[in-house]
Symmetry: C2
Subunit: 257 residues, 2 copies
């Protein structure tokens, strides 16, 4: 994202408008004008003009105190992103089935560049706590969803991720590129991924790929449970069945277009 | 807004970029360049430049066939809109409780101008079919959620809606402004709304207001069930309890900020 931000100054109104929108983060979803200007790297007067224009379109809103936040109008348009809500709508019944059967955390994610993004999460209230949130990004190399998305990513994406520093979340996180590459081969052979204690020390995730009608892997769904909880053997068939069901529903939805 | 009008260049950049985004609709979420140009009312060359810029930011994506769709990057940013996903995350456990108890359609909506927008929906698989979808807009004067949001809207919003033509969805839809205004008074007195057969002939919705820590009504949640199904008496206490629980959670979440 930093790269995007440094490029935008040479760009059009759209580029700078987008830089203002990108200044908003999960950590700072509501900001004053000077915070927006600072985070977007813009002079105050420019930030003022851009935020006014974005408010006029509804992309931003001001709250009672005059602070800025992302507007519901932007959310309405963004809800049309096929890889967001529409995918989620198709997958939801299968996610709900998994939840009803296991009462664990159920997640659906897609790859965006070298990251995974969570599209939907059903959080078991008594299930193990997980750090993800809908709309959040995370790395591809450690979680079940991330490993599936990486295993089926184009070769150039795999090479780039394997060549980059692989963050060690726990002592079990695989950070050796050769070992990781071998694991990706296993995931493609098995048709599912198991990540044990690689993201947090007390969790296991089991994930399987979701495909479209051309057999491209477009998403991954997973169960995240306690490491001391149900075995990967017990969970993997259910996860794979839900992923197959979702894949079939995705193909049916695209035929309906 | 008047002050920005003289700065034509950037204003038109963001404004026209937004016009391109607004060309995408639930009915047409994927479009060719010429469809985008036609729907946004732009010359083909301008549309080409704007879509290229929007693709560079990630606000749009191109699919394999070269058609345009709303990008996941826009969805990521829009997921920060406080009235969208964050509100939905706070409300979800209460919506799930209602679903588990009733197996009916459970909806959460907010007011955007003179419309309601659905933020979340849990659709009972054997429940009555409803026309709404997450991200969809609908009128305020007929559904349970709409009536609650209208009943607690500022006076000028109520006056504008009551002065506009009120669409008759069924023969039971209240389209007389005086009768509707009287119904709004009842809703504020009772603390919930019942809409029977006003949107579709076979449905009943029962809705209650969700407030923030300042007691502003910021959303409404509802159960939509068959008219021949459970009575409004049976549903209303559960809906109101879920709305109160959500309101308390909203207040707690804002204290945490």
């Amino acid at each position: 994202m930093g790269g995007t931000r440094s490029r935008v100054d040479n760009r059009s109104g759209i580029g700078r408008g987008f830089a203002v929108l990108e200044a908003f983060t999960p950590e700072q979803p509501v900001m004053t004008l000077s915070e927006v200007a600072r985070r977007a790297g813009l002079p105050l007067t420019t930030a003022h003009r851009l935020t006014s224009e974005l408010c006029a379109t509804g992309a931003l809103e001001r709250d009672r105190g005059g602070s800025y936040r992302v507007g519901l109008r932007l959310w309405e348009i963004a809800s049309l992103a096929p890889r967001g809500l529409p995918l989620r709508e198709v997958a939801l019944p299968f996610l709900e089935d998994l939840y009803v059967l296991t009462h664990e955390n159920i997640q659906l994610g897609v790859r965006e560049g070298h990251d995974a993004v969570i599209i939907e999460r059903i959080a078991g209230r008594r299930a193990v706590g997980v750090i993800n949130r809908v709309g959040r990004r995370f790395t591809l190399h450690a979680s079940g969803i991330g490993l599936v998305l990486l295993a089926y990513a184009p070769e150039e994406v795999q090479d780039a991720v394997l060549a980059s520093p692989l963050r060690r979340f726990t002592k079990y996180t695989v950070t050796d590129p050769d070992e990781l590459r071998s694991n990706l081969t296993d995931i493609r052979r098995d048709g599912f991924a198991v990540s044990e204690r690689q993201v947090t020390i007390d969790t296991r995730s089991v994930a399987a790929p979701v495909t479209n009608s051309r057999d491209d892997v477009i998403a991954s769904l997973s169960i995240v449970s306690r490491f001391a909880g149900p075995s990967a053997e017990r969970l993997s068939l259910a996860v794979r069945a839900a992923a197959l069901g979702t894949s079939r529903a995705v193909a049916a939805a695209s035929r309906g277009d």
